[in-house]
Amino acid sequence: MKADFKKENAGRIAVTVIGFCIIALTLAIFLFLLNKGVQTFTDLKYSVLDFFTGTNWSPASSAGEPKGSVGSLVFIAGSVEVSGLALLIATPFAVASAVFMSEIAPALGRRVFQPAVEMFVGIPSVVYGWIGFRVLCPFIAKVFHMPFGGESLLAAGIVLAVMIYPTITTVSADAVRCLPDEYREASYGLGSTRWQMIRHISLPASLPGILTGIVLGLARAFGEALAVSMVIGMKYRIPVSLLSRTSTLTTQIANQMGTAPDKTGQTDSLWTMGLLLFVISFLFILLIRLIGRTGKENRQ
């Protein structure tokens, strides 16, 4: 009997410790990034305002060089625009697919479509980037008569859209499927067609779930580094048109990390970008929880 309780307590302690280790890990990541990220402003004395609003990124890459500036507005704007574009492209298709999977053809959805969508998720991002580079960029170059190659905001937006489509689809489909059947039956009882029921009942009622899917997709788009860097053109310029070349926070980190030693403007500003990305993902999570809570309240 005692042996059983020993194991009982050991087991309980073990999993509790593991649970708390998750907090420790997340906190550790945040604290390390915070420590490195604010060095740009505290030790190296770059201006915070300039970081967020400046457009000139040319920091010192060694102790002897002039300080330069770390204006990262280009990367922030690039990230925002690329993710926004991806969202705009993917959302209509994703929501439509979600509705298809759950309302129009549930059996077909479950056996064919769902596995197919999950397969999409499994494709590694470098493969998306490679296809984008080999197929999409030349195609865009031909269609839009770009003599210098098709790397552009548009190319990155399309690649990202395909990448986040499965995320939005699966989450939205779950949300629509979870609606109580009473809703549908009530709608049919009033004589509506299926489309009317979808448009007036299913979609509005599953809006919180769909929004959650959208935010998750946005978070994924924001955080994608390699696939985007292969097709975006890597220029330090705020994109002004769909065909502009630009850079994002993630591509800048991927390309420039390690090119200068620690404690220089070049490297430390990349840590700041990493910190910024962490904070933004955290904010996305809070946003999702807010949507979830509001949705529950509205339901009641």
């Binding site: 999993v15 998750i22 990541i29 990034l33 479509f113 493969v127 296809i131 067609t193 979808i198």
Partner: protein, 304 residues
Amino acid sequence: MIDFHKKAKMADRAATACFYGVAGLFLLLLLSMTVYILVRGVLSFMPKYLGFGADALGVEIFNSLYMVFLSLVLSVPLGIGAGVYMAEYAKPGKITDIIRICIETLSSLPSIVVGLFGFLVFIVMIPGATWNLLAGVLALSILCVPLLTRTTEDGIREIPALYREGSYGVGATKWQTIVHVLLPASAPRIVTGIILAAGRGFGEAAALIYTSGLTSDVSFKDWNPFSHTSPLNIFRTADTIAVRIWYLKGFALTQDKDRIADMAAAALILIVLVFNLGARFIGRRLENKMNGTSKKKKGRKAAE
């Protein structure tokens, strides 16, 4: 009234057509992407690049498998443990909420940020350390643990209360219930989660570029784990297939780099496909096994 209804019916039919169209479009997209990669891989196939020689992919394939395996060894106990905690022991309250937020933040963290953290802690802060396989494994584990935690927690929560009650009814302790009833019952779900996590590990590159490095130098004749050219040495630099594709696109040296990249992409997609289908298959097998042989369920079925 009738006109109204006719319009509604037309709208319904049009909408249905749209939905089928969109679904078909994306199925077509997925199919064409997969076929394109596989065909290009076949077309670019040069047997010498599949072996273990210079520039060949054999090393990277081994590295991918080895690293994913090691990271699962690390993250499966941690993930399942955390999932069990969240499902069975965590009392609803502030702290549990914080843990949940942490899990969700970890799982939505961009992999490049995880790679940066790994670079900082395992390479920069450890004197004399250079890119190594262990650092990559740890980075992968950080990515896999939240996934497995959520899968385990969801799996355990979905188990009907009757299972637990039945177990307590025969006098089992909480821990015994977890280990002998709940975990086996949610095994299909957990195993699927593990396989999907493995699939993610294969495709991961951003987290590995700065932790496990971009090159490998091993000799497959040397299997002593403490030797520097041994494939088993966890302190050596190791690149995976995904990292190699990234490297080939931007930094490679050989003339055949495009072909090697095509082959690598095809190999990667094949591995991921196998894992995906495998996950489904094993999941279904396990589920059937559980339903078929589990005595409690049979008893319940008889009672119903």
